[in-house]
Amino acid sequence: MTVNVDYESEDDQTLVKSAQKGDTSAFQELVNRHKDKIYGRAFSMLRNEEDALDVSQEAWIKAWQRLYQFHGNASFVTWMTRITINLCLDFLRKKKRRQIDSFEQINEESGGVERQLPPVIVNPTAGLERAELREKIDLALEKLSYEHRTVMVLHEFEEMEYKQIAKHMECSIGTVMSRLFYARRKMAVLLTGLRKESSLK
């Protein structure tokens, strides 16, 4: 006799335990539940729909293969996100090796063009439409080099400390600090219009 399990009503922890025993339906429910978050994280790092889809799917496959390593110390979605981030970083490293260093990357250590820019006086953006704001931020993030964007995503979205970012990105803490600083400065420059707009309202 087959027992019908209502997977949708189960919490992540229960689903993970079932999946660890080989229950693919439980795992499928986890995928359904967190697919947008995982895809979104991959996209925020890769800035390409197709690459984000491929990497996020690979992340789920890796997660299935390593489910026995998950002991519930962090939430399942946090664990999944870490796997996704690592795969994104691997993907970007491989991609970078195939590309000629861009002007932006060459200037990274020296701070690039934004080094010369004076600090900008900021104002709140209370009056702006949220969708418009998101779009502008999204475009600005897209214009960052992958190193700057990655450090930004890991720090601002994943709330990682410098030390953790350095470990993930296989670089020194000093490099993380530098990259984060210039990423923020560049974002500030790219969003100058937004600041002016919001200051007028």
Binding site: M1, T2, V3, V5, S18, K21, G22, D23, T24, S25, A26, Q28, V31, N32, K35, D36, Y39, G40, F43, S44, E49, L53, Q57, E58, W60, I61, W64, Q65, G111, R115, P119, V120, I121, V122, T125, R130, L133, R134, I137, D138, L141, M152, H155, E156, F157, E161, Y162, M177, S178, L180, F181, R184, R185, M187, A188, L191, L194, R195
Partner: protein, 174 residues
């Protein structure tokens, strides 16, 4: 002159990466330096605006299609069934085999039956040696042997057969 390293220290204060002593020292310096204050404000604004506007992205493909790609990647291991359905399959297997055996047995019995029937039909009712008079009598029932003659007549109504044997003596013919 302010160096980038100073700005990076300001950032460390914002991100809570400075020790308590260094943080106090930095706060004091910022309060005395408008440029540093602007840098801190700018970094803070950027950080907050990015954090508060993280775009929630929706998977751009059908969920089923997305899952199928993952299921394919999982491979044979992924076909492992949940414990209940696995149990169900182990219980039903002997029944399947029993059913198959019964079908095979029935077929063998039917075949053997047909063979026996055909064999019985083709087999001579009795193997009677020529000249065995008693056996012929038992089998066919009627046997007439005229006296003083080696001729005889066999009649078998069951087999719809009549055999007449006449042994003419050459002496009498002559």
């Amino acid at each position: 002159m302010t160096q980038d390293s100073d700005y990076i220290q300001i950032q460390s204060l914002l991100d809570g990466e400075l020790s308590a002593g260094d943080a106090d020292k930095m706060r004091l310096e910022i309060s005395e330096n408008p440029e540093w204050k602007n840098v801190l404000d700018e970094l803070k604004w950027t950080s907050e605006i990015v954090r508060s506007n993280e775009t929630c992205r929706i998977l751009p493909v059908d969920t089923e299609f997305y899952w199928l790609q993952i299921a394919r990647g999982i491979g044979p291991v992924g076909i492992v069934q949940p414990a209940d359905s696995h149990k169900e399959s182990t219980v039903s297997m002997p029944l399947v085999w029993l059913k198959r055996c019964l079908q095979l047995g029935a077929a063998v019995l039917l075949f053997a039956g047909i063979m026996m029937f055909l064999d019985q039909k083709n087999e001579p009712r009795n193997a009677i040696a020529f000249g065995d008079t008693e056996a012929i009598l038992n089998e066919f029932g009627e046997l007439e042997i005229p006296e003083g003659n080696s001729s005889f007549l066999i009649q078998s109504p069951d087999n719809e057969m009549t055999v007449v044997w006449i042994d003419y003596q050459m002496d009498s013919m002559e």
